[in-house]
C-alpha cells in the first residue's frame, strides 16, 4: 500500500501543475509560515521559521524535546502569541480558515476524569459549525457517531472517557477532528502512548486522509517510523533544520544538525536572551 501510494505523487504534480497553469494561479499551499518567532518570557522557542508545505501529503514534524514542535502547531493556530511573523492557510490568515483546519492536541493536555461521554467529546468537533449558544442536536450526535465509526470506536459512544485506554482516548481525539471534516489536520503526537493496534489504525487513517486529498501535519517522536509514515518531513530545532520529501531530507547529516550538539552556541545565546543582557537570572 505505501509503495503504491508513493508512485502517485510522482505523476500527480504534472497534472496539478497543468491545472495551475490553466487557472493561471500558483498551486495553493495548505500552510505557509513566514519569519515566525515565538518566545516564552523573551526566550525564543521558535525562531525565524519559514516554510511552505506541500498540499495533500503527510508531513512529519520531528526534533528533540523543546525544539518547538508543539509550539509551531500552537503558533499556527493562534494559541500562543507570536513575537513576529505570519501564517497563512491556503493563502489566508487562520482566523478566516478555521473551518478548513482540525487540531488534535496532545492527549495529556486534558483531564480525562472530566465528566463527559465519548460521544459528547467527539461532538465537540462540531461545535464550530453549530456556533455560539446553539444547543447540541440529534443531527450533531449522529455526525459524531459516524466519526467514531471511522476510528473503530462506535461501540464506546456511551462510555465515560476515563474508562477508556490511552489508545482509545487518542482515537476519540482523532474522531473529534474527523467530525470537523477539515482540509488540514494538525496532530500533536498522536502516536504517544498508544498500543500497537491503535498505531496501525492511525497510520491507515492518515493514508486514507491523504488519499482523500487532505494535508496532515504530525508531530512525531519515533525516528524509526519516519520513512514509512511520512511523505514530507520537517526537522525542527528552534529553527527549521530541513524541510522536504523524506527521501531527501532524512539524512544523517540533517539528523546530526537537528539532534546533535552543533547548536550549542545558539542554545547559549538563546539562554542569554532569556536572561536579558547582563542578566544572571535562571536559565530554565
Amino acid at each position: 500500500m505505501p509503495a503504491g501510494n508513493r508512485i502517485e505523487p510522482a505523476s500527480a504534480p504534472s497534472e496539478a501543475y497543468g491545472a495551475a497553469v490553466n487557472a493561471s494561479a500558483p498551486a495553493p499551499s495548505p500552510l505557509v509560515v513566514r519569519d515566525l518567532t515565538i518566545a516564552y518570557r523573551r526566550r525564543p522557542v521558535l525562531w525565524d521559521v519559514d516554510l511552505a508545505a506541500t498540499d495533500g501529503v503527510i508531513t512529519g514534524i520531528v526534533g528533540p524535546n523543546g525544539a518547538g514542535k508543539s509550539t509551531l502547531l500552537k503558533g499556527v493556530l493562534d494559541l500562543v502569541p507570536r513575537v513576529s511573523g505570519s501564517v497563512s492557510i491556503y493563502g489566508k490568515p487562520y482566523r478566516q480558515q478555521r473551518r478548513l483546519v482540525a487540531y488534535v492536541p496532545q492527549r495529556e493536555s486534558v483531564d480525562w476524569d472530566y465528566p463527559v461521554s465519548a460521544l459528547d467529546l467527539v461532538a465537540m468537533g462540531l461545535y464550530r459549525s453549530l456556533g455560539w449558544l446553539r444547543p447540541v442536536r440529534r443531527a450533531t450526535r449522529e455526525a459524531a457517531r459516524a466519526a467514531m465509526d471511522l476510528v473503530g470506536m462506535a461501540d464506546y459512544a456511551g462510555r465515560q472517557i476515563s474508562e477508556l485506554s490511552g489508545g482509545q482516548q487518542q482515537r476519540l481525539f482523532l474522531a473529534r477532528a474527523l467530525a470537523q471534516d477539515p482540509q488540514i489536520y494538525f496532530m500533536d503526537e498522536p502516536f504517544a502512548g498508544v498500543d500497537a493496534a491503535t498505531e496501525r489504525a492511525i497510520v491507515k487513517l492518515l493514508q486514507r486522509l491523504r488519499g482523500a486529498g487532505k494535508s496532515v501535519f504530525v508531530v512525531h517522536h519515533d525516528l524509526q517510523t519516519v520513512r514509512s509514515y511520512f511523505d514530507d518531513l520537517l526537522m525542527l530545532n528552534l529553527r527549521v533544520v530541513a524541510h522536504g520529501p523524506v527521501a531527501e531530507v532524512f539524512t544523517n547529516d540533517n539528523l546530526q544538525k537537528t539532534y546533535g550538539g552543533r547548536l550549542t552556541l545558539l542554545d547559549q545565546a538563546v539562554d542569554a536572551l532569556g536572561r536579558g543582557p547582563g542578566g544572571r537570572g535562571r536559565s530554565e
Partner: protein, 449 residues
C-alpha cells in the same frame, strides 16, 4: 423542635444561596480552580467599598457591579502574576486576594466608618435575620434577601443553560475551544463575573465561610457520583439543598440535646457539608473507599479460590492424598490481591465447596470433576506463562513461577491460545503443560479484574 414560618424563611434563603453557589461553583471545581472561589470571596471587598465610595449608595445593584469588577480584576491579576512572574496559579491567587482584601478593609475603615459592615456578619452571615427584613411583592411579604438571591440564582441558571455547550467545551479543552473559534478567555471572565456576583449576593445572608463551602463542596461530592456534566450539576443542587435543610435542622435541634441554645445555621450548614463530603468519600460507587475495599476483597477471594483449586490439582498430579483443611487454609501473599489471610482462604474453601468444585472426603479435600476442569485451565495458564517468560529470556527459571502465579489469574482463554503457540509440552521445570480443558471456550472470567 418547633418549626415556625421563620424557620421556613431561613431554610429557603439558605437553600437558594447554596444552590446558586453550587451551580456556578461546580465549574470552578471542574476547571481545577476551586481556590478562585476563596480568592474572589475575599477580593470582592474593595469592589464593594469602592462602589459605595463612588456612588454613595448601598443599593444592591451598585454593590453587585462593584463585586463583578473586583471578580474580573482578581482573575486578571492572578493571570498576570502567574504569567509574568512564572508563579504558580495558587500562589498568584493568594497574593492577589489577600492584597485586595486588605485594600478593601482600609477603604472601609478610612472612608466609610458610617457604613455598617460587621466583621462577624461577613464571616458567618445572618441568615437567621433575613426573614425579618421583608418587602411586599404582589401582596406577599418576602425576605428582601430572598428576592436578590432568587434573581441571582435565575441569572446563574440562565448563564449555565445558555452557555452549557461553551462552558462544557472550554472547561474540558480550552486550547481546542480556542482553535475552533470559541473565545475561552471571554467565557472564563464571564464565569468569574457570575462567581463574584453570586458570592456577594449569598454572602450577606450566609457569610463568606459558607459561600466558599457551597461553591466547592457540591461540585466535589457530585463529581464522585456522576459521569456527565448535566448530572453533576443536578447532583450538586441536591447536595446544596441537603446542606441547607440539614444545616438548619441540626442547628436548632442538636445543641439542645446537650442543653445549649440554637447555633448559627450557616455554621451548621458548613459542618453538614463536611460530613456529606466524608460520607461521599466512603460511600461513592466505584471511586469511594467502601467500593474500593469491596473490590479488593472480591479480587482477594477470587484469587484465593483459584489458588486453592490449583493447589489441589498439583497434589492430585503428584498422586498425593487428599489435603487436610489445616494445610489448605493458611496465609499466602499475592501481588494482585495483597495478602490473602486465613479468613480469606476459609471463605474461599467454603465457596468452592458450595459451588461443587471441591468435596471433602476421608482424610481431607479433593477436586470434583468441575473443579478439575477449572484447575486444569489455571494450571495450563500457569505453565504456559512459565514457558513464555522463560522463552522471552528475561526471567530466570527460578523466577518464572512467581510471575506466572500472578498472571494465571488474569489469563483469558484467548490469551491462553496465544501463549500456546510456540510452547512445548512441558514448562521450564519439565512438568507437563496440561491440555486445554474442553470447557476452554467457556472461559473462566479472570479474577474480578
Amino acid at each position: 423542635m418547633s418549626w415556625t414560618y421563620l424557620d421556613t424563611g431561613i431554610v429557603v434563603v439558605a437553600a437558594v444561596s447554596a444552590m446558586a453557589c453550587a451551580l456556578i461553583g461546580s465549574f470552578l471545581v471542574l476547571r481545577r480552580m476551586s481556590m478562585m472561589g476563596d480568592a474572589i470571596s475575599h477580593a470582592v471587598l474593595p469592589g464593594i467599598a469602592a462602589a459605595f465610595l463612588v456612588m454613595l449608595s448601598r443599593d444592591t445593584a451598585v454593590i453587585l457591579v462593584g463585586a463583578a469588577l473586583a471578580g474580573v480584576l482578581t482573575a486578571a491579576f492572578t493571570q498576570l502574576i502567574h504569567q509574568a512572574g512564572n508563579v504558580d496559579r495558587g500562589a498568584a491567587m493568594g497574593v492577589v486576594f489577600t492584597t485586595m482584601f486588605a485594600v478593601g478593609l482600609i477603604l472601609i475603615v478610612r472612608s466609610a466608618d458610617s457604613v455598617h459592615i460587621d466583621v462577624h456578619t461577613v464571616f458567618y452571615g445572618a441568615v437567621e435575620l433575613t426573614p425579618l427584613d421583608d418587602i411586599a411583592v404582589a401582596g406577599v411579604r418576602l425576605p428582601r434577601a430572598l428576592l436578590i438571591l432568587a434573581a441571582v440564582f435565575a441569572a446563574d441558571l440562565t448563564f449555565v443553560l445558555l452557555l452549557f455547550k461553551e462552558l462544557n467545551l472550554t472547561s474540558f479543552d480550552a486550547d481546542f475551544a480556542r482553535a475552533i473559534g470559541f473565545n475561552s478567555r471571554l467565557i472564563h471572565y464571564a464565569l468569574m463575573v457570575m462567581v463574584a456576583v453570586t458570592i456577594v449576593a449569598a454572602f450577606e445572608s450566609v457569610g463568606s465561610i459558607l459561600v466558599i463551602a457551597m461553591l466547592i463542596v457540591p461540585g466535589v461530592v457530585a463529581s464522585l457520583f456522576t459521569r456527565r456534566l448535566w448530572s453533576l450539576l443536578l447532583a450538586g443542587q441536591a447536595v446544596a439543598l441537603l446542606c441547607a435543610v440539614g444545616g438548619h435542622v441540626t442547628a436548632i435541634t442538636v445543641p439542645r440535646w446537650f442543653g445549649f441554645s440554637d447555633t448559627s445555621t450557616a455554621g451548621m450548614m458548613t459542618v453538614v457539608a463536611g460530613v456529606v463530603v466524608a460520607a461521599a468519600l466512603v460511600a461513592a460507587p466505584e471511586r469511594g473507599l467502601a467500593a474500593r475495599a469491596l473490590h479488593r476483597a472480591r479480587v482477594a477471594l477470587a484469587v484465593g479460590r483459584e489458588d486453592l483449586l490449583v493447589e489441589l490439582m498439583r497434589v492430585e498430579e503428584r498422586g498425593g492424598p487428599p489435603v487436610g483443611g489445616r494445610e489448605l487454609v493458611r496465609e499466602e501473599s499475592s501481588r494482585i490481591a495483597g495478602r490473602s489471610t486465613r479468613v480469606d482462604r476459609t471463605v474461599a474453601l467454603l465457596v468452592e465447596r458450595l459451588r461443587g468444585r471441591v468435596r471433602s472426603g476421608v482424610g481431607g479435600y479433593r477436586l470434583t470433576a468441575a473443579g478439575r476442569r477449572l484447575a486444569t485451565g489455571l494450571l495450563r495458564s500457569h505453565r504456559l506463562w512459565e514457558s513464555y517468560l522463560f522463552a522471552q529470556g528475561d526471567t530466570a527459571v527460578g523466577e518464572v513461577h512467581f510471575a506466572a502465579h500472578q498472571l494465571e489469574h488474569v489469563t483469558s482463554a484467548g490469551m491462553r491460545a496465544d501463549l500456546a503457540r510456540g510452547a512445548g509440552a512441558t514448562d521450564p521445570h519439565g512438568r507437563p503443560i496440561p491440555d486445554a480443558p474442553d470447557a476452554d471456550a467457556g472461559d473462566h472470567s479472570p479474577a474480578g479484574c
